[in-house]
């Protein structure tokens, strides 16, 4: 592959160990890598170069990841961003998506998993356009999810969902057509790893299906991939 064809990734983390190890790991995966030590350095870098994707740590000195993300989005820069979250709280997770991150992964993470996420985000996003994860209203046919007011509706009816089911639906809808395994959903929605996997995820998916009147055998929205996970199969569009 020519040097110019390589996707360019900016790693922003104040931890030197992570910066260098991750840089060499991703370089091996065929990416061109730049690094920055905090939000200010990242913003300075972005003034002259536009990478294809940014990996952004949250807890950093000077300008933290969340504020960096906010400033970028406010300036209309929709470069895909994967956040490295610190605290595994589900509230923080929902907030990361609200702020317009494309995905997030909690430390400590498996680098191969990060690689898979990077590939998925790059596939999903087309340069210069507003990513689904950065839009307030997601629409799929009858189903409409307003992320700001934390409300979902089906046709003209507001539907009642538990907070967790809502975050789950939000995550599925902002990653349409992507096979998402239970571990990843747990990590994203619950903030834990595999422990309560099967039950917790399956119970919430069942809740979503019941409320959305989605037949698992002929789904309109959520498809089960046996033994692997779930996929949101509806066509998701930006709403107003």
């Amino acid at each position: 592959m020519m040097e110019n064809d390589k996707k360019h990734i900016l790693i922003v983390d104040d931890d030197q160990g992570i910066q260098t190890s991750l840089a060499s790991f991703l370089a091996r995966g065929g990416f061109k890598i730049s690094t920055a030590g905090d939000g200010l350095q990242a913003l300075a870098f972005l003034e002259h170069t536009q990478p294809d994707l940014i990996i952004l740590d949250i807890l950093m000195p000077h300008l933290d990841g969340r504020e960096t993300l906010r400033q970028l989005r406010q300036a209309g820069n929709w470069v895909p961003i994967i956040l490295l979250t610190q605290v595994g709280e589900s509230a923080e997770r929902a907030m990361a998506l609200d702020d317009g991150a494309d995905d997030y992964i909690a430390k400590p993470f498996d680098p191969h998993e990060l690689m898979a996420r990077i590939r998925a985000v790059l596939r999903r996003t087309s340069p210069g356009t507003l990513p689904l994860s950065a839009t307030w209203v997601l629409v799929c046919g009858e189903l409409r999810l307003d992320r700001r007011s934390r409300r979902a509706s089906l046709g003209n009816h507001v539907i009642n969902l538990t907070p967790k089911a809502l975050v789950l639906l939000e995550y599925l809808m902002s990653h349409p057509d992507e096979l998402i395994d239970r571990e990843r959903l747990l990590d994203a929605v619950w903030g834990w790893e595999a422990e309560v996997a099967t039950r917790a995820v399956d119970a919430r998916i069942a809740e979503l299906r019941r409320v959305l009147k989605d037949n698992p055998d002929q789904p309109t929205y959520i498809e089960t991939i046996p033994g692997l996970g779930y996929r949101f199969i509806g066509q998701v569009e930006r709403g107003r």
């Binding site: 992570i18 091996r28 595994g88 191969h112 967790k164 309560v196």
Partner: protein, 316 residues
Amino acid sequence: MRKRLIISLLVVLPAVIGIILWEAYWLGWLPDYVVYLRVSLSWMVLVIGLVLTAFCVIGWAFSIKNTQRFQKKIKDTRAEAVDQHRHFLRRLDHELKNPLTAIQIEVANLDAELGALVESSAGGSAPKNSQALPRLKEQLTRLNELVVQLRKLGELESRLIELEPVRIDELLIDLVDEFRNSAYGAEREITLNLPEIPWPLPEITGDADLVYLALRNLLGNAVKFTQPGDAIQVRAYDDSMYVIVEIADTGPGIPEDELPYVWDELYRGKLARGLPGSGLGLAIVKAITERHQGQVLLRSRVDKGTVITVRLPIDR
């Protein structure tokens, strides 16, 4: 401090005045008279009685006030200790996370580099069959697990828990099913006892996923510490205030001197040392139960077995 000084001055004041006057009479600065006092015995006993009682009452009041102050201090200190402990866990988790992530990435780098080396040297000097890397990964997984559990524990004590109706009986059916289908669980005799007559188990209000996690840790322990062929009984009932779940096993039991420590973080009993685990399982169970305003109780006899009782309030 100042208040205490004033009080002690007031206490010695009469004695000081007495000594000064006594000295003054002896030095002849004041005319010394002889005073005869005539009191009826009845009045004398009354006055002595009243004075003694007055002293006792004053002393008593002081001691009550002191005890209260002392108790408040103990409570404050304890709350502060809990708080500090929580902060410590968070810092520990935070400080472990970055190096651990970096090690994990470097191990993946090493893996790839070794792979490339083996390919290029075609079985030459490269350590093709070295088990060092797989073993390293195994240990890394353990460390990873510990950090995740620590984070979970730290989060449990502070995060908002979801409050929705939870059917404990349904959770238990799923749980026992999960374990019966696991390799270890299939070798033990796991029975589930749920009330149906005259009414089934009432709902509680709480976070179903957390309650499931707690019960899963407990049944997991029961399976872990027993031998194939041992019996494990999961039973639940209610007493109009609480739903009570008991998980009992015919395992080796816990020695009495270890019982006070089983709920502590990172504590691992003598029997547990050869077995996988982080030492955080029961601490997590305790944190989850307390977040639900419930209680946990462990009873154990060596060579007989262990019963753990979880009580979760029905109405909150």
